[in-house]
């Protein structure tokens, strides 16, 4: 048969040397390789206790941002849902009532806003489509593994970021130090 490459080696049967026949040097050589690997840096990490550093442009779990006065930015315009190639986003819009001006930025808001993390492909098109700078994919959080399917449908309770400026996501529009201080003051005045 014609060889496919010219790299084929012709095998020659040579009698073993004395060192080879002694058996022990080869054993120690092999064991030393094994022992060396005990002290080498491991290729794996102990996730989820330990996480690898994220890239600054990593697209992880969604967050619904609040504005500088702590109001929800999302106005349920549906552009994220129509941009979503996986059809992972659903929402129900509602009209803001009198007295809710401190909660919602626009006269329309999302009563419910759900992202199905099993459908989501984390492409970030929702972030690009959003005209209100409300939805962002966080660079430092991933959708954690869970046991049940329905636990992957994230509602507003898990998506909207906390009012507390210190606990907010670092992604998206950031508060200036003055705005953060003003918001903290406002929260301190309110009875818990």
């Amino acid at each position: 048969m014609q060889p496919l490459t010219n790299r084929a080696k012709k095998l020659e049967k040579k009698p073993m040397t004395l060192a080879e026949r002694a058996y022990l040097p080869a054993i120690f050589q092999g064991l030393s390789i094994t022992m060396r690997h005990f002290f080498m840096k491991k290729a794996t990490v102990r996730y989820p206790e330990e996480v690898r550093p994220f890239s600054p442009i990593f697209r992880g779990l969604h967050v619904l941002k609040r504005d500088e006065q702590g109001r929800e930015r999302c106005t349920a315009c549906g552009l994220c849902a129509v941009a979503c190639p996986a059809e992972a986003i659903t929402m129900v819009a509602g009209e803001r009532k009198k007295g809710e001006e401190g909660l919602y930025r626009e006269e329309k808001y999302a009563i419910s806003y759900e992202v199905n993390m099993l459908r989501c492909i984390f492409c970030g098109l929702c972030e690009e489509a959003c005209p209100k700078a409300a939805v962002y994919l966080q660079a430092d959080k991933m959708a954690p593994p869970r046991f049940e399917r329905d636990e992957f449908i994230y509602g507003k309770d898990r998506l909207v970021e906390p009012v507390d400026p210190t606990k907010r996501s670092v992604r998206g529009i950031q508060l200036t130090p003055e705005q953060a201080a003003a918001l903290s003051n406002k929260m301190a005045q309110q009875p818990a």
Partner: protein
């Protein structure tokens, strides 16, 4: 009959036809946009200036060009007229200015507005405008007004096209009270419209409104237009023709509107009973999916007729063949 050349295409139309209607006879992308002209409404047109065109030669007798751009929706054709629309740099440039002008006082609250997705101003600005604004002064604002329990008026979004005024005039049969109040910057749609609310056909002002100034209160914030599926349907209505478009989300009829043609014009008024009260599938005889332009956002996830090569599939059902003749499938490529 008059023979005119529109963007290099010759067309023969009856005397007295407007340039816009002559262009619509040609059809396609050369048709000038129209925000205020509405074929069924007598007297409409000439307000928004969106349809400005350049007349390069007035007529055979007097082939001088017209000194300024003319509004094509109110200018009648003359034999031998040469009109430039998309071929003229000047027209395209002026249209950018018109968009800017119309958007001066427009709140740009499209994420909140129910008209978004089927708004003439959105389409017009997208096709002809620039994406930035130079306007820094305060925009005029109004409180939103409830015109009866079913219609909401957002004067802030109004572009003063007068379509609703003419509609009210037409359906109220000349029993006119008021129209647009104030002048210039202070102009606003006034009590005239509120007074027609008792009329059975008052809901049609929602359909004629090119922007989101007059909206259906029963559909307010229910769903974005592009998540609903338009379906043509009819019923035996003692008051109107009963030909409507139902907008479905799942099994629910969220909204009923008149049937709009390719220029967004409703040819048959529908009555308020059809529009606001009959929101069950059992009230209607379904005809089939309404045709949606491929360029519209409503066509996202809107499956109408398959893109197929008819000659390949020999035994199409007869009903499908009939549908295909009516709405030819999309051509690939």
């Amino acid at each position: 009959m008059a023979k005119i050349t529109f963007d290099g295409i010759e067309v023969e139309v009856p005397d007295g036809t407007t340039i816009l209607n002559a262009a619509r006879q040609i059809g396609g992308s050369i048709v000038p946009p129209a925000m205020c002209y509405y074929t069924p409404l007598k007297g409409s047109g000439g307000k928004c200036r969106a349809c400005l065109v350049r007349v390069a030669a007035g007529s055979t007798k007097d082939p001088r060009p017209m000194p300024k751009l003319v509004a094509s929706c109110v200018t009648p054709v003359q034999d031998g007229m040469v009109v430039e629309n998309t071929k003229s740099e000047q027209v395209l440039d002026v249209r950018k200015g018109i968009v800017e002008m119309l958007l001066i006082n427009h709140p740009l609250d499209c994420p909140v507005c129910d008209q978004a997705g089927e708004c003439s101003l959105q389409d017009f600005a997208f096709e002809h405008g620039v994406s930035t604004t130079r306007y820094q002064e305060e925009r005029r604002t109004f409180e939103k007004i409830d015109i009866g329990p079913l219609i909401q008026l957002h004067m802030t979004r109004c572009i003063l096209c007068y379509r609703c005024v003419y509609t009210a005039d037409q359906i109220a049969k000349g029993d006119r009270v008021h129209g647009v109040l104030g002048r210039g910057d202070a102009a606003e749609i006034g009590t005239y419209i509120e007074n027609i609310i008792d009329n059975d056909f008052s809901g049609n002002v929602i359909d004629v409104c090119p922007v989101g100034a007059l909206t259906d209160k029963t559909f307010r914030f229910k769903q974005r237009v592009w998540f609903t599926k338009p379906v043509n349907a009819h019923r035996d209505c003692p008051k109107c023709a009963g030909n409507v478009t139902l907008w479905y989300k799942g099994k629910d009829v969220l909204r009923v509107t008149g049937r709009k043609d390719q220029y967004g014009e409703v040819k048959e008024w529908i009555c308020n009973e059809c529009r606001f009260d009959k929101k069950e599938t059992t009230d209607w005889t379904i005809e089939g999916p309404a045709h949606i332009e491929r360029s519209s956002v409503i066509s996202a996830n809107h499956y109408e007729l398959p893109v197929l090569n008819q000659s390949v599939i020999a035994d199409l059902p007869e009903s499908t063949q009939r549908d295909l003749e009516k709405n030819p499938p999309l051509k690939l490529g």
